[in-house]
């Protein structure tokens, strides 16, 4: 079920009514209801893959329980290994099997050896990377003795399948979300209202910004050989905003929906395009994934400890793994590697933790220096996004070759019957909204709240893309 569908528009109020007016007498009943609603939500897309969520839930619940009862280090290690094998095995099969078979055959044929292998027609279950990482955090934290296992199977199952964030995050740690299932939840008006505002803002980012950008992006990337430098540049910029609007919009709707049901999910995006360097960008973009990799990959590898070589290795590993997490394609690996490349200079001069505050936190506008820093960071991330969007690394490369060699900066008329620069107007609207509310999660605060809500509703109704609505990009990861 998509957040931007009519089904969800009916599903959400129905769940709200049952949850707060029927199931509110008992916490257990509320959790059972969340579990059922979550399975309905997921099953709406493809009920067959519910079995994978159920498998992951059962395996990790029992492994978590056994881990807490085991004192022997070797037994604990074996149990953790079992959890890793089951979870990463399922993920690996569904997501990476074809990629490895193809890459293996290609590698051998490059050496002149003819290999034969068969790929399978595998459907990637929606959200598998998200809930796999979520359940892994549970067993790893119990293994590290940072978390007590869940006493209730229903609570744990509801935590794994919690519908607002099941298919595209935020990837919630068991330590943050699981205890919330054990606490009595009373309706909090302010929390619920902020949730509704986040849903509205998320819808705006998805339906008005991301889906409108998608129309231009698809036209430009699909015909990149025919376009000039300006159009290709705009195509890359539009994709930067498409993926931002799409993913941060989803996260906002997820967090907002969570709040309506009395849950606090972690913030996943903090205005990443106002970052002054790549390190700051990664503290603001897909925070739940970057902190997951930080805590479960980067720090165990040694983090920023050790000599320079080890530090560089750790940075390279975390970015490349992050790229690979997004999908089984070399384009994602190059995307991750590019970010590592952009990050390394900051690490070498020890400036990777210098921009920890909000840009222009005590002034209305940024200084010239901040403006140039933000522009440079945006440009770097946009370069990497081209690899993320392109079908192959070769196509991304050709895209850049054409962008830098065409030398034609005239505005073109696209095959979607629109001028290439038209979308910039909406992007400016988004940036203005975000800049002037950068200290908040969404713009619906302050004196003119109802005017802002009306304006966003107006844009949503008139400028939103509903006929050709796109799935959220991160569903495929």
């Amino acid at each position: 079920m998509l957040f931007n569908s009519l089904e969800f528009l009916i599903f959400l109020p129905l769940c709200f009514i049952v949850y707060w007016f029927v199931a509110n007498r008992s916490l257990k009943l509320q959790n059972v209801f969340i579990l059922v609603a979550s399975y309905v939500f997921y099953g709406w897309w493809d009920y067959r893959f519910l079995s994978l969520i159920a498998l992951s839930t059962v395996v990790d619940y029992f492994i978590g329980d056994l881990l807490s009862k085991q004192d022997s280090a070797s037994s604990r290690k074996r149990l953790l290994l079992a959890s890793l094998i089951v979870n990463l095995g399922v993920l690996g099969f569904f997501k990476y099997y074809n990629f490895f078979v193809d890459s293996w055959i290609t590698a051998w044929s490059g050496l002149g050896v003819e290999m034969h292998g068969s790929t399978l027609n595998i459907i990637l279950p929606v959200g598998i990377s998200f809930y796999t990482f979520q359940t892994l955090s549970y067993t790893i934290d119990i293994y590290r003795k940072k978390l007590e296992p869940s006493e209730s199977f229903v609570n744990f199952a509801a935590y794994v399948a919690f519908f607002p964030q099941l298919v595209a995050g935020p990837i919630e740690r068991a330590m943050n979300l699981l205890p919330q299932f054990s606490r009595k939840r009373t309706f909090d008006k302010e929390q619920a209202i902020s949730g509704i505002h986040l849903i509205l803002w998320g819808l705006f980012k998805k339906v008005v910004i991301a889906d409108s950008c998608a129309t231009y992006v698809n036209s430009i990337f699909d015909n990149y050989q025919d376009h000039n430098s300006l159009t290709l540049l705009l195509g890359a910029v539009y994709f930067a905003f498409q993926i931002y609007g799409d993913f941060s919009g989803y996260s906002d709707i997820a967090i907002g929906t969570g709040r309506v049901f009395g849950f606090d999910l972690m913030r996943n995006f903090k205005l990443p395009y106002f970052s002054r360097d790549i390190a700051e960008f990664w503290r603001r973009w897909h925070i739940s994934l970057s902190t997951w990799f930080r805590d479960y990959v980067y720090i165990p590898l040694g983090g920023s400890r050790g000599n320079r070589w080890q530090q560089l290795r750790n940075v390279a590993v975390i970015f490349i793994v992050s790229g690979f997490w997004h999908g089984a394609n070399w384009t994602f690996l190059v995307w991750g590697a590019l970010h590592a490349l952009f990050f390394v200079p900051l690490l070498l001069v020890n400036k990777n933790r210098r921009n920890l505050d909000q840009v222009a936190h005590s002034s209305v506008l940024p200084s010239l220096k901040e403006f140039l820093q933000m522009g440079t960071t945006f440009m770097l991330t946009t370069i990497a996004w081209v690899f993320f969007r392109a079908d192959t690394v070769g196509i991304a490369w050709e895209y850049f070759v054409r962008l830098f060699t065409s030398g034609n900066f005239s505005v073109s008329y696209l095959n979607i019957e629109r001028y290439s620069i038209e979308m910039l107007g909406l992007i400016v609207v988004l940036l203005l909204f975000e800049w002037f509310h950068r200290k908040y999660e969404h713009p619906f605060v302050g004196r003119f709240i109802w005017i802002k809500i009306s304006l966003v509703c107006l844009m949503l109704l008139t400028l939103g893309v509903f006929s050709n609505h796109q799935e959220f990009i991160y569903f495929q990861f």
Binding site: F187, C457, L461, T462, F466, S467, N468
Partner: protein
Amino acid sequence: MKGFLKHIGMILLIITTLMILFDVSYSYVFKVSEPRSKIQKILQLSDTHYDYIFLGSSRTENHIDCEVIKEVTGKSCINFGISGGSIGDMAVLLRLIEANNVTFEKVFLQLDYNYNASGLSQNFKARLMPFINEPTVREELTLVGLDKTEKYIPFYRFMKNDQVVGFRELVSSIINKTPKTDINVKFAPKKGIGLEVATSFPEVIHNSNSEVAAIANLVASKDKVLQFFTAPYCPEVKGRELAIKELKRRVKGLWDYSNLYDEQLDYFFNCGHLNIMGARDFSRIIAQRELQNQD
């Protein structure tokens, strides 16, 4: 909870008010503005007479030049071909033409593999949406199964079809922007030469098509003439001969031009469409045959 429900109620009130306002204003603009689509044009036509009406898909829209037809036959002509249009679309168009008191002598209906399809095309249905409150349009849409959401939720019909009748089209109508296809000339020729997009015909042609029958009944009830024709395809199209042979068995008197330009490939824009040179020549051939028939 009360405060929250009040807040939600306020947001819903804003959304509902905006939807009603937009529904009324969009409907009004599409009704009174200069026509930008053939449907708008038909709905604004009344008490007009055309000798020949051409109906079909892009193979009519791109191929039939009424100027040429008029030059050869001396008869008035209008091309209501719509790119991507189905026979179902053509049946509705003809009923709307009739409902608006537009009289005619003869209808030319283009047939090919579209004989197998039924129902309205998505684009055509979307184009009808602004006029849902017009009794004739509503009746037509009810026949094909109008969604309740489109019928009862204000403005939803515009949102759901935003690529066709959304904000962009509204602004274009307000500023009277020239449409891609000049609906007054109603002939949208293709420019260039090529043989790409070699499609294939279906292996089986259905035994009948209820919408073709409906068009035939309507024309017969007016005591007018209906002529079927097939437009040229390039020889690379798979299954062409067999499918047209089947079609001719089902549709008596079909003017088959499917292989007309097998030796004249520079008349093609792509495998399924003629370019402007081919279109003008094809229009002349149809007109001359019509003239011969009159004699």
